[in-house]
């Protein structure tokens, strides 16, 4: 019997939602099995059932051919099922070893036997090529390493089935590659891996088989080798999806944004952006490509006014805005889709209606003489929600917190575009979204360009940059490496520039 896990005819209903409707999922030993579906399709529910967080209404689970009842996560752990959650569960001022043994500390008498634990962790780390220093503290290591610690935690507990929930959402492209290699070596050692994702490229890269769920129903399980990305996408979304963004050639117009010799301090009080210059014209999308943390956020925060400029100038349509307050910049025509929709983009405990006017609540018709006009706020929000296909349980009166990530993001994009800005700054506008929403948001960004507005796109997804941009500026270590035209470059060239190798400069 080489089936490790069999989930047969699983059904789970939440109040008002049929999250899993007769889903069958079978995991073979030593395979990487992708679980694909849009946000809210029921992937997390299905895995929650396997991990003991929910009980199925009907259906059975077998492991190694024997029926099991997984009543809580401890039972799952005992059965050899481990899960790496999207948000890591680590103690930041503990060492890696301490984090891994937390809850099952090996003891000699009254003291914890850290040494033998560290030794075993080192062995595991070497065997699976995880490259982790057991004595390092969590707060000192990168997100990629933290994720590997979570994987080690499961291996230390002798997990045979590893569930990875959207593991690449928080990683840089390099870390994604490392993770994929780790997954392959784990599978080669006989571990079975379930990869929850909606990124087709990753599935093509590592998975053996792929089970697709749509709206709580099983669409099918396919061999990844036999399917291409567009077939998988169609299974997931239920219709044809175009990856290529339709974009007409367009002559750029006047200069909208001009950044001159800009230097900005990072949060660590060193120069995060050094002597940076860039122009963005009307009717073009300029993409900023680079590995995370190479000056992108400093650039964006300087332009939007969230961060002070050390030296240099920022001009919007010829007007110097270097020291203008944030609100005045918004009024002068800068809109900003922020990187982190929960931190900056939304007041989660406000309604969607209130969130839609967060930059303009003090203007007519939303308020008059200091008093809010709730009716016009609501109808404005409803307009945005209609135009941008934002779905919420109680319409504009829903708390922003209650919306799914995709709908929250569409709401923010709608709000910013509705300001009709001269310059739209979009930072990671499709982070963590499903294919359908990505396609939609990309189209709206191109619309903005076609209307003759300027768009500055910052993204860690190289595909997104290459597909949308007219010109691409590559940053490395806070410096501009070079600017290339999107039409005559490729992933390889940009990748090299991201590593800091200047184009055309002979070594």
């Amino acid at each position: 019997m080489d089936y490790v896990v069999e989930m047969l005819n699983i059904r789970k209903e939440f109040p008002g939602v049929l999250a899993n409707d007769n889903i069958t999922f079978i995991l073979r030993k030593g395979e990487i099995h992708a679980l694909l579906g849009e946000n809210g399709a029921g992937k997390s529910t299905l895995m929650g059932i396997l991990f003991g967080m929910y009980q199925p209404d009907s259906g059975i689970i077998r492991m190694y051919g024997k029926e099991v009842h997984i009543s809580n996560p401890n039972v799952a752990n005992a059965l050899g099922i481990g899960m790496v959650h999207q948000h890591f569960k680590l103690v930041h001022n503990f060492t890696i070893t301490e984090n891994i043994i937390l809850g099952m500390e090996p003891k000699t008498g009254l003291t914890i036997d850290i040494k033998s634990a560290a030794k075993r962790i080192k062995e595991l780390s070497e065997r699976y090529k995880l490259n982790v220093d057991p004595d390092a503290k969590i707060e000192d290591v990168s997100v990629g390493v933290q994720q590997r610690v979570e994987i080690l935690k499961m291996l230390y507990r002798n997990a045979e089935v590893l569930i990875l929930d959207e593991p690449t959402a928080v990683l840089t492209p390099q870390e994604v590659n490392e993770l994929m290699n780790i997954m392959k070596s784990l599978a080669a050692e006989g571990k079975s891996i379930i990869l929850i994702t909606h990124k087709l490229k990753e599935i093509k890269a590592v998975a053996d088989r792929c089970t697709v769920i749509r709206r709580g129903k099983l669409v099918g399980t396919v061999d990844v080798a036999a399917a291409d990305e567009s077939q998988l996408a169609e299974m997931m979304v239920g219709r044809q999806v175009s990856f290529k963004v339709d974009k007409q050639e367009k002559e750029p117009g006047e200069v909208i944004l001009k950044v001159e010799n800009l230097s900005v301090l990072s949060n660590r009080k060193v120069l995060g952006l050094k002597n940076f210059s860039l122009e963005v014209h009307a009717g073009e999308i300029v993409g900023i490509a680079g590995v995370d943390g190479n000056g992108q956020s400093e650039l964006v925060e300087a332009i939007t006014g969230l961060k002070r400029v050390e030296s240099g100038r920022i001009l919007l349509k010829g007007q110097d805005i270097t020291n203008m307050p944030v609100r005045s910049r918004i009024r002068s025509g800068i809109a900003h889709i922020p990187e982190d929709r929960h931190k900056r983009g939304l007041v989660l405990d406000y309604t969607i209606a209130d969130n839609m006017v967060i930059e303009i609540y003090d203007q007519f018709p939303f308020s008059q003489k200091g008093l809010l006009n709730k009716d016009s706020i609501r109808s404005y929000a409803e307009k945005i929600m209609n135009n941008f296909d934002v779905r919420a349980g109680q319409g504009a009166d829903s708390a922003a917190r209650s919306l799914s990530g995709g709908n929250q993001q569409k709401a923010i994009v709608g709000r910013e575009i509705e300001l009709n800005p001269e310059l739209l700054i979009a930072v990671q506008p499709t982070r963590g979204l499903d294919v359908g929403s990505i396609e939609y948001i990309h189209k709206r960004l191109v619309d903005q360009r076609d209307k003759g507005k300027a768009v500055l796109l910052v993204s860690l997804e190289l595909d997104e940059i290459l597909n949308l941009s007219d010109r691409i500026a590559v940053v490395n270590n806070g410096e501009l490496v070079g600017i290339v035209n999107a039409s005559n470059t490729n992933e390889n060239e940009i990748g090299l520039m991201m590593a800091g190798i200047k184009k055309g400069v002979e070594a």
Binding site: P15, K343, R344, V347, Y350, G370, K374
Partner: protein
């Protein structure tokens, strides 16, 4: 103009009511433990607060400073600040009103508004300092408002004997003349000789005004946005620091008014060396009222009943008066752990569905 206040989520109301019920049950167990009959005890407790028109008046008067202190804490809470300094703001606001009342000899209709403005200004000034410290230097308001409490305490300790000494006692200010107090004859008569005074109207007006500011104005929108997510507020170009200072000042003004109702309405003089406990009870009132102005009103009146009824219970039974304080403390405890109550409610609901 259409006035429409958001009725608060029934869930928070249910949680608050449950906290009250649990507190009363815990109190009943304690009364039993002292060898008394809880039903008898509670009946005297509530009769002591509500038995006749005079006692109702006294209950309302007891509630008045609690309402304003509760509003002060709730307002700060709603904008993301924890104002533990209501006591000091009450002292200083109350002192400003008293000083005006003892110094100026103007007709009642003029002096009273001036005294209230003095109280508002004094309270606001006292909260302005922690506000600026928070906005400028990121000094936590819990620390600075507590320190301001003691500064207020000692300032009053010095000024009252030095400039407003009473005729008999060194530790008290002179009595306010009738023409400079919130007491009103018609109100005293209406409530059968109770010490209720115009303060209750001020408190209710403050409830309405606070609810209005929070729910209907641009100012309230900004204040709440800063409180709920200062990064998003910053992103949208809302001046975070200005709103922190403004919020502290409004909270201080409300507490200052509370001080005025305490020292120029319920009492007619100020004692030195006493920190008004209402300032701290305000935190409990705000918590039980789930930080909504209307909730604060209800919670403060409930606390008022307990406070003014406990003497009667003590006189009529052998239940120690500390029981009433214990009940209040237990209710606060349950209100503070409302998360647990909410979770229990959710669990019950789920079980019902499963059955």
């Amino acid at each position: 103009m259409k006035l429409r206040f958001r009725i608060h989520l029934p869930k928070t109301t249910i949680v608050s009511l449950l906290a009250v019920v649990f507190g009363l049950i815990a109190g009943a167990i304690l009364i039993l433990a002292t060898g008394n009959n809880p039903f008898e005890g509670y009946s005297y407790l509530f009769r002591g607060g509500l038995m006749n028109i005079e006692r109702v008046g006294n209950t309302l008067a007891t509630s008045t400073p609690l309402i304003l202190a509760g509003l002060s804490v709730a307002f700060a809470f709603r904008t993301g600040l924890f104002n533990i300094g209501a006591a000091g703001q009450m002292l200083f606001g109350g002192f400003c009103a008293t000083a005006v009342g003892l110094t100026l000899n103007w007709p009642k209709a003029i002096i009273l508004p001036v005294m209230m403005i003095a109280a508002i200004t004094g309270g606001a000034l006292w909260a302005l300092i922690p506000g600026i410290l928070k906005a400028r230097f990121n000094v936590h308001e819990v620390v600075s408002t507590i320190m301001m409490n003691w500064i207020s305490y000692w300032v009053i300790y010095y000024i009252i004997p030095a400039y407003f000494k009473g005729s008999y006692l060194e530790t008290e200010s002179r009595q306010l003349p009738h023409g400079a107090s919130l007491k009103a004859d018609w109100l005293t008569h209406l409530f059968g000789g109770s010490y209720i005074n115009l303060g209750i109207f001020i408190a209710v007006a403050a409830v309405v005004a606070t609810a209005f500011i929070l729910d209907r104005t641009v100012m309230g929108y900004e204040l709440k946005a800063v409180g709920l997510n200062r990064y998003a507020a910053e992103y949208a170009g809302i001046n975070v620091n200005r709103n922190i200072v403004l919020s502290m000042m409004i909270a201080g003004a409300l507490a200052g008014l509370g001080g005025a109702t305490l020292y120029t309405g319920n009492a007619l003089s100020m004692q030195i060396g006493v920190m008004p406990s209402q300032g701290f009870d305000g935190i409990a009132v705000s918590l039980l009222g789930s930080n909504s102005p209307v909730g604060v009103l209800g919670a403060a009146i409930f606390f008022g009943i307990l406070y003014s009824g406990k003497g009667f219970m003590n006189a009529m039974t052998r239940i120690p008066p500390e029981i009433a304080d214990t009940i209040i403390a237990t209710i606060i405890y349950f209100a503070a752990t409302s998360v647990l109550i909410e979770r229990a409610l959710g669990w019950l609901k789920q079980r019902k569905r499963g059955a």
